[in-house]
Structures are given as structure tokens and as C-alpha cells.
Symmetry: C2
Subunit: 219 residues, 2 copies
DNA sequence: ACAAGTATGTTGAATTTTCAACAAAAGGAG
DNA sequence: CTCCTTTTGTTGAAAATTCAACATACTTGT
């Protein structure tokens, strides 16, 4: 377990928790590590939410697919980030999303029961854990607001520019990489892929942006 | 303050907290009550998030307006419900949304500083408060997922039907009222109002639904 | 009861998006 | 290197959304 400490230290769930305490805590929480191949479904839509996940290596996507096969990408998850915490905390009987391995990855799973109901020997860090979880959920809620700010735009062009502007801001400069290929970006922005490609071409011709693959530059 | 206890008891923030403890707690939190007229801006976009709000009477809307004046309604808030908690918990320096009074309303405000940093005399219920807040944020996150499930649909018709189906499920029957007028529903679904009206007419003619004003029936 | 203002429904034109199909480019496996 | 697969760009036609304008119904305040 120790080999993951570098990642876990950066996980918001364990903020302000010392290494010395972490190991005992993980035991107390019944944390386990699992590995998944690329494209493997880590959590399937429709199944009950029982675990909080933490990505240790690789990456995963939160996706929603409707009966027509339209995929909507809700977010992308990287090492030391948490997923499915909202569903686990609310103990929902049926996940409204799936979590898919983007590439081979390792994930730490912690059962929500262990988090929600203080353990008998009540490790003193449980309160801190709840607090951290609260902080994390607040951050996630804000992320959703940002996503809505993007997808509420009515045109492909505006959605794309809003998204790219946010990414530039986040990267602290006009050059940055995005974590999506074209189809994924379309599924994130909720637009048609070919229309998105066309729009990118247009913006390029207008001299508004440069891009090669997933590297963008706003001009 | 006592006259609001009926409402506050139902507020998820005070779940499992006894009436006897509530009064002291509210004092400890520095809770204050304010009144707002219809259409008044309770919290303005761009201002720092300092307070959690609880609606005591009337109702409010969370809205986002872009530079073209396109309004997007994020949610509707009724008595005993909390708002702005995510921004307060994350102490964001600039609110990405506004909160507008839908009708004359009373609101309880609790400063986030009081919630996040345990008070010196450390009332024993603070831990429970954090836990409740965590639960509430999990629920809100799930609400956002539902909203995305609606708005990620590509056509007005599908958005509308997805929304109405969810409302019917929530109401536990095929007849139900929605909390929006046509323009608000359009702003919630992120579609054009006239197109929405046209779609409703079409669904009526096809015998799929009945409606008068904001009362709907799925057939 | 009336007038003024607001909300809703309806329409056609303009614009966009979606869809389908294909070509070109890039990436991976052997 | 070559073949095969996947990704990306391009296009035109079909479908849908948006927009503007207006008629009608409904509310509200006086």
C-alpha cells in the first residue's frame, strides 16, 4: 500500500492527514486496490453505488449513454482524483453513470458504509475525512456549474470557445493540451463531431486559433 | 427565530439536530434572517460567496446569464432548501451564478466562516453539521447529473419528454405541476421558448400529453 | 371593469445542426 | 515497410432550432 502514498497524499480526501495515520486509516476503511484494462467498465450504470474510487494510475471517464447510443462525457479522472463519491455518499441504489477505464489503470476502492458510519474503534480522523469529502463535493459541484456554463451555450462555436477559454485560464496561458480527442470533445460539449471539426477548421481559417491534435493555441 | 423552526426542522442541514439544540446552534453560527422582494437579487454573480442560504418562505431561482442575455435556470429553491452551499464551502471569490427571489421571500443566512472553522466554544453539533452538508452536497451533485441527462439530449422534444418523465416519476403519477412558466422551462431545458411552445402543441395533437398552464398529464 | 403589461401560441424565414458518406491522415500490429 | 484500423476533415442534403413578428389569452393594478 505504501507505494501509493505519493498519489494518496495529493488526494483531497486525505488532506491534512499525516502519512503515519494514513496506513491505519486505510485499514480501518477497508480500502482495496484493483486494476483494470483499457476500456474496462469499472462501475456500470444501473448498479448500486457502494464504493468511492480514487485513481492511482492511468485515467478514467465518467460517461452517460442514452438508449440511442448518444454518449455524454461528464468528466475525466486522473491519479489522486476521486470519483463516484456523490453516489456513494448518497447511497443511490442505481448509478446514473458508468465509469470507464481510459487506459490501463489502478484504482483504490473504499466502501461508502465505512465512510458514512463511524467505525467502532472510531479512528480520530473520521471527522476530517467527512470534512474533506464535503470540500471535495463542493468543488465537484462547482465543476458542474462550469460544465453547464459551457453546454448551455446554443452554438457549437460558442461552446467550443467557452471551453477553450476556460482551459486556457486553467493552464495559465494561451497554449494548452486538452484531454480529449475530437469525438470525446464533441461528447463533452454535446455537439456533433463533424460539425465540431468543421467549426475548428473555420476558427483556424479566421485566425482565432491554432491546433494540432489535442494541442491548442488561442490567438 | 422560533417561528421558523417548522421550516428549519425539514432543512437537511439540521437533520438529526434536536429543537433544544437548534437555537443555541443558530446563535453560535451567527445565523440571521433577511427578507427580499420579488425579483430582488439575493446574491449577485461575481460577488464573493460568503453565506449559505436557507429559504424560509417564498422561493428563489439560481440563474446564470451570459453576455448575450441568454438566461439559464439552474434550479428552483423552496422553503427549507439550501442554496449557495457549494460556493460557500469552497469559499469561491466570485459567484458564477445569481440567486433571485422568485416572489417575496425570507432567507436565513449563515456565514461560511462559521461553518468551516469550528467555533471556539465548539458546539458539539458542528460535526453533525459538516456531515449533513456533505450529504446535501452529494444530493445536489446527483441533481446536476439529472439535469445533464436532460440537457444533453439533442432535440427540444427529447429534452421536454425526459424532463416531464422525471417529473412524473418524482410526483409518483402521470399528473403533476411543474414550477416553471414557458420561458422558464425553456431556460431550464436550454431551448428556444417558441420552439418549446410549438413542441408542446405537437405533443398535444399527437395525444402524448395534456396540459393547461403548468399542469401536465402524460398519456 | 378597464387598461396595460405579461405570457403563450403560431408562423415562416434564416441559420445551424445533425446525419451519412467518403477521403485523407495518423497510428499500430505484424 | 505495409496493411489495417482509427481518427479527423470535408461535403451536401435533410432536419431542427433559432429568431422575429404578431395574435391571442391571461394577469395585475387602478
Amino acid at each position: 500500500m505504501k507505494k501509493y502514498f505519493g498519489i494518496l497524499r495529493k488526494c483531497p480526501l486525505f488532506d491534512s492527514i499525516e502519512d503515519d495515520d494514513l496506513l491505519g486509516m486505510l485499514g480501518c476503511l477497508g480500502a482495496k486496490v484493483e486494476s483494470f484494462d483499457k476500456k474496462y467498465t469499472i462501475f456500470a450504470e444501473g448498479t448500486p453505488a457502494r464504493y468511492i474510487g480514487i485513481v492511482l494510475s492511468g485515467s478514467a471517464q465518467i460517461v452517460q449513454v442514452d438508449y440511442y447510443g448518444n454518449r455524454s462525457i461528464l468528466s475525466e479522472i486522473y491519479p489522486s482524483e476521486i470519483f463516484a463519491e456523490a453516489f456513494a455518499c448518497a447511497e443511490v441504489p442505481s448509478l446514473p453513470v458508468s465509469v470507464i477505464a481510459n487506459e490501463p489503470c489502478e484504482v483504490m476502492l473504499i466502501s461508502c458504509a465505512h465512510i458514512l458510519h463511524t467505525c467502532a474503534n472510531s479512528c480520530g480522523f473520521h471527522q476530517r475525512l467527512i470534512f474533506n469529502l464535503m470540500k471535495d463535493l463542493a468543488t465537484k459541484t462547482i465543476m458542474f456549474h462550469q460544465r453547464i456554463e459551457i453546454t448551455s451555450k446554443r452554438s457549437t462555436r460558442e461552446k467550443l470557445l467557452t471551453y477553450l477559454t476556460m482551459q486556457a485560464k486553467k493552464a495559465g496561458g494561451d497554449r494548452f493540451d486538452i484531454p480529449f480527442d475530437r469525438q470525446e470533445l464533441a461528447d463533452y460539449l454535446e455537439v456533433d463531431r463533424s460539425g465540431l471539426s468543421a467549426e475548428i477548421s473555420k476558427l483556424r481559417k479566421e485566425g482565432i486559433l491554432e491546433c494540432q491534435k489535442n494541442h491548442f493555441e488561442l490567438l
